[in-house]
């Protein structure tokens, strides 16, 4: 009995892979997702003659900085980078302040018109951007912010998503702490700043990641409202540069690296926070 069962399991075991079969699915998938980005970085270090060769090369023969130096001298890439950093910084800071204030107001304070205001905010989620493009452009023109950086950050100063996120978070906090602060004579603002906000760090981090991603990567609003190439953000700058230099790949890839690397590095450093943000968008948003 023991020997026969032993011989029966032996061939079965020899069929088994030395690793989980899931690797057979995950390894190719992982490569498909990451290799284009690797190629983007590698190509940015190739010389133009190396790129336009058949069959194409994957690894550059050496570190050529032609793409970067040409991009620096032939476009305003540094200016665009600075503009984008500024736009994202304003967007993130404004989001953190305004959305947490409003989220707290909707979660905890009782005031006339609260229900209606919140319904209006939730309803805005339904309105698609193609409906907003034309009037928003006209509005920006009226406000005199066409061709200024404000056109890139004004749409990201606050968002329904941000208000909703913060409200959900505050609703989940126990009320007792705030009540204790109130009994000690703290006003609403004081209670909010010194008692509630320190507890909200995870939600604020999620909100910051969301705003950073949206404002940094946004193409449509600045594309519509900014035509002065010294006011471009990175995304608009790259798109316009691509429009005129369709074949100068080392420069285009260098621009791509400059535009995406900060976010990729941020993602690698704070992966948990990014994933928490994506999860929140999906499960609660």
């Amino acid at each position: 009995m023991t020997t026969s069962s032993g011989t029966r399991t032996a061939p079965a075991r020899s069929w088994r892979l030395p690793f989980s079969p899931w690797h057979l699915l995950l390894m190719p998938l992982a490569l498909i997702f990451v290799l284009p980005l690797v190629q983007m970085v590698l190509t940015s270090f190739m010389s133009e003659s190396e790129i336009n060769r058949f069959p194409p090369k994957f690894i550059p023969s050496g570190l050529h900085f032609d793409g970067y130096t040409k991009l620096l001298s032939e476009s305003h890439i540094l200016l665009w980078f600075g503009n984008t950093v500024l736009v994202s910084a304003v967007a993130v800071i404004s989001h953190l302040i305004l959305c947490s204030l409003a989220g707290y107001g909707f979660a905890r304070l009782k005031f006339a018109g609260r229900g209606l205001a919140f319904v209006a905010i939730v309803a805005t989620v339904m309105i698609p951007m193609q409906l907003l493009m034309i009037p928003t452009y006209l509005m920006f023109a009226q406000l005199g912010i066409v061709d200024t950086l404000a056109a890139a950050f004004v749409p990201w100063l606050a968002s329904a998503f941000g208000i909703f996120l913060m409200r959900q978070f505050f609703l989940g906090l126990p009320v007792e702490l705030e009540e204790a602060a109130r009994l000690d004579g703290c006003g609403a603002l004081r209670t909010f700043v010194s008692v509630v906000l320190p507890l909200a760090r995870p939600a604020l981090a999620t909100l910051a990641v969301f705003t950073l991603l949206s404002s940094w990567n946004d193409l449509l609003w600045p594309l519509i409202a900014i035509s002065d190439d010294t006011k471009f953000t990175l995304q608009v700058g790259l798109a316009s540069f691509q429009g005129t230099r369709r074949t100068e790949w080392s420069q285009l890839m260098a621009g791509n690296v400059i535009a995406t690397l900060p976010l990729i590095v941020a993602f690698l450093v704070a992966q948990r926070r990014f994933i928490a943000t994506m999860t929140f968008t999906g499960l609660k948003g």
């Binding site: 989980s20 899931w22 390894m27 998938l29 992982a30 498909i32 997702f33 990451v34 284009p36 980005l37 190629q39 983007m40 336009n52 060769r53 058949f54 069959p55 194409p56 305004l98 409003a102 107001g105 909707f106 009782k110 005031f111 006339a112 309803a123 805005t124 309105i127 698609p128 951007m129 193609q130 409906l131 907003l132 493009m133 034309i134 928003t136 452009y137 606050a158 941000g162 609403a188 603002l189 991603l213 940094w216 990567n217 193409l219 449509l220 995304q235 790259l238 798109a239 691509q242 791509n256 535009a259 941020a266 993602f267 690698l268 992966q271 990014f274 994933i275 994506m278 999906g282 499960l283």
Partner: protein
């Protein structure tokens, strides 16, 4: 709030002082509340509901943004029905949505299940699969132009190594929309996978264990327990990805700009061209409203369907 107000007259008036104080306190509370909520509310509502209403008035005019707008009534809307470009754009948007939504849901679920295994290198796989999500659609589009370049792109090189004929990809009217769909999936599927992964990890272990103890096979557990548990997430993802597909703009702008031969001109891209290249603001706004109406009907029907069949998505 309403209860306190309704109760006030029933109690015998003991003098005006407490009532006035109460009213004063209510006013202060309202002011405090609005102090917190107003800045963000004004921005969000002012940048969406107000322009959306304005867009409706624009849609009933002929306007180039400079000369005075000429009122047209419903003419713009009637004209859409006879516009072959609008019909083609609608067809492209529909095809893109029909390919993208099920594609991202199935691929996202598959990836999530794979990433939910406790095997070696799983952290590495996770990082690789999620990282394209943070790259902007503009950068993704430019990168795609390189990878799918017919002359020296990596995609044709892979085909050549496999002994397959080279393709035109983004330069071929028959393939461009498909290639854009593939690129959009590459960039967005990580999002679906993350959501499904979180949902999979939320499924109570007891459910799966109980079924396994009762002798259910892995496939049956998946079919009868995992999938039903994931339904709310699937409904949400379907709605979200439908909106993403119907609004796809950045990627088209940095790959084909609607070409070749208008084969990738979607409704949103067409509206952009009408409004910002040919200055036909009224007609563009009318088309935008029509698309909005269609999206609304689609979203609400998915929503109602999911409500009726008993799964709460929100």
């Amino acid at each position: 709030m309403t209860i306190t107000f309704a109760a006030t007259p029933r109690t015998p008036p003991k003098g005006t002082a407490p009532a006035a104080r109460r009213r004063g306190r209510a006013l202060r509370r309202t002011l405090t509340g609005w102090g917190f909520a107003a800045p963000a509310t004004v921005l969000v509502v002012g940048l969406s509901i107000f322009p959306a209403v304005w867009a409706f008035f624009i849609s009933r005019t002929r306007w180039n943004g400079i000369a005075p707008a000429k009122p047209l009534g419903w003419d713009n809307y009637q004209r859409i029905a006879q516009d072959p470009d609008a019909a083609a754009a609608a067809q492209h948007t529909l095809l893109l949505t029909v390919l993208f939504v099920p594609g991202s849901i199935m691929l996202g679920l598959l990836i999530a299940i794979a990433l939910n295994q406790k095997i070696r290198l799983i952290g590495f796989y996770r990082t690789c699969i999620f990282v394209p999500y943070v790259a902007s659609a503009a950068a993704t589009g430019i990168l795609a132009g390189y990878v799918f370049n017919p002359q020296f792109g990596a995609a044709n090189e892979v085909l050549r190594r496999l002994g397959l004929p080279a393709q035109g990809f983004l330069e071929s009217p028959g393939q461009a929309l498909l290639v854009i769909c593939v690129i959009a999936l590459w960039g967005e599927v990580g999002f679906c996978a993350v959501i499904y992964l979180a949902a999979l990890q939320d499924i109570p272990h007891e459910l799966v264990e109980a079924a396994t103890v009762d002798g259910a096979s892995k496939l049956r557990v998946f079919w009868h327990i995992t999938l039903p548990e994931l339904r709310p997430v699937t409904v949400f993802t379907a709605i979200w990805q439908t909106i993403t597909a119907m609004q796809l703009f950045d990627l088209i702008y940095t790959t084909t700009r609607g070409g070749p031969m208008n084969s990738t001109q979607t409704v949103v891209y067409y509206i952009y061209e009408l409004a910002f290249q040919t200055q036909r603001l009224g007609y563009g706004a009318a088309l935008a409203y029509l698309l909005f109406a269609v999206t609304m009907v689609l979203t609400l029907s998915v929503f109602w369907y999911s409500r009726r069949s008993g799964s709460e998505a929100f």
